[in-house]
Point group: C2
Chain length 313, copies 2
């Protein structure tokens, strides 16, 4: 059993990313409503799982984790924009997120749309021009690769399409596959797009920022695919048996809306077994990369994989 | 008087950009609702002024205009996303745009939000990875500069902030400057952000793609600032005296909503004089750049400046 102090590690990383995000927006006039709306959602207590993955990946490859900080900020800004737009009345119409009012509730619908647009646009600006916000950052060629990978993961063949698929599954359940194997494949496809792509690109961005070789990219890619899916399986499990006070949002909503979820398709125990199998696959992928110091330095990545299926929110 | 055939030139450019945009999305499954929604708005008969400016700028500097095509597509995709989000019920709540149903009317509000998000994200993807969609494209270093400039123009210190300022001016007219000089300065600030920044970056992207020197960038920057403002002054004039059939949208709406506009502050004749002065400034800026062949090759740019205040839609 590892003695690695994951909660201390996550706390230090969270501080790093919070400070970096504040730096990014520090030059802007805090009286501007747009700035307030972006900061409201950026600082609403996110778990910062994606940035932690990017920083831990850079560390695992022997690089200064700070080299992955610009991509970490960009990814967290994109994640936050997606939550703001997802919560809009025209989408999921949610009033609360992480226990605080959603952006359109706190400000206005128009402001929330623009705050989301602003975060998404500024994420790419940060990658192109990290400037004085960051002590170190990858060279120009690497940053262009980050723009390419992150825009692919966030966009029309990644997260945005995942939102569409998720919405269509909820609005037209009669179009979903009746066969349970097909339904499971379709559910995996939704989540691979909706959440998996951004989790995968978090790991990839850490690796690319650190100048990873192809073998490392492959091993880390398999790790990321597995924990990305495990993350979503666990989200579905928490919607069944999580504590709404700890989660900061309602539970039981999936069953109420007869939503296609892993517990609905595999049962609660089946889903737990599946999430454990996915984490085991992720750890095996890390084991496959035999670089000398990687085993020790990848300890945070291993701990995060465990955290993903043991978290309570 | 120039004998330059602007309408033929704009038609050829429009064909170029339409074909390029179709190429960009050609690999995607046309059955996907997200793809349909993006194409619906992209192909809804836009004037393609911004791409024309980028292509004409590259031509003026002696480059193959096609080198500016990736940036032109990215800018038109960003322009289109901004219209989709601007038309949403939570923003301007418009049913028609260019005579066809707006994206959320044709599809759904959620689809329109995601189609806008998808276009914005894919614009940066095209810049980072133009790939097989384009015969020629700028080198990686130049493309990273394009990501930087275009994200700055489109984002929280450019177009997105312009939308905020515009919305605040409409919703809280009591907060606007009472003094007419201050009101005019504020109106210019709104438009410099809302439309000026993207028009300026269209010209700048053509210049950067063509490898412009500093002197050319300066002259073209002044040209772009002036026509950007002239464009908005003319939009306000057309809202007073345009033909709704030609425009594909209602006119007289600004006066009806007591909106702060150039005609409201300067009068109709004063606004026309102002727009002519701005175009004269733009042409003078072009004259200031003395490179041998620029005078002849900048003819399309000069003609576009004239078109901006002589158009009827």
């Amino acid at each position: 059993m590892s003695t690695f102090d994951l909660s201390g590690y996550l706390l230090r990383n969270r501080k790093l990313i919070d400070e970096a995000l504040i730096n990014v927006f520090d030059e802007l006039d805090p009286q501007r409503e747009l700035v307030q709306a972006m900061m409201h959602s950026l600082m609403a207590g996110g778990k910062r799982v994606r940035p932690a993955l990017a920083l831990a990946t850079a560390h695992a490859l022997g690089a200064d984790p700070l080299i992955a900080l610009p991509a970490s900020c960009a990814i967290e800004m994109i994640h936050t924009y997606s939550l703001i737009h997802d919560d809009l009345p025209g989408m999921d119409d949610d009033d609360l997120r992480r226990g605080v009012p959603t952006c359109h509730k706190q400000f206005s619908e128009a402001t929330a749309i623009l705050a989301g647009d602003g975060l998404l646009t500024h994420a790419f600006h940060i990658l192109a021009a990290p400037g004085s916000c960051f002590k170190v950052f990858p060279d120009a060629e690497t940053r262009l690769i980050l723009v390419k990978k992150i825009s692919a993961a966030a966009g029309i063949n990644g997260m945005v399409e995942g939102q569409m698929l998720d919405m269509q599954a909820e609005k037209k359940p009669e179009d979903l596959p009746a066969d349970s194997a097909d339904a499971l494949a379709h559910l995996k496809k939704i989540h691979r797009h909706k959440t998996g792509a951004m989790i995968e690109v978090s790991v990839a961005s850490g690796a690319i920022s650190a100048g990873a070789n192809k073998e490392a990219l492959n091993a880390l890619g398999t790790y990321a695919q597995n924990i990305g899916l495990a993350f979503q399986v666990m989200d579905d499990i928490l919607n069944v048996e999580g504590d709404p006070k700890v989660m900061g949002k309602a539970v039981g909503t999936d069953a109420l809306h007869d939503k296609m979820t892993f517990p609905a398709l595999l049962g609660l125990e089946g889903s737990k077994d599946f999430s454990k199998q996915l984490v085991a696959n992720a750890l095996a992928a890390l084991d496959s990369y035999k670089e000398k110091e990687f085993k020790e330095k990848s300890e945070p990545l291993r701990a995060i994989a465990g955290y993903i299926i043991n978290r309570n929110r």
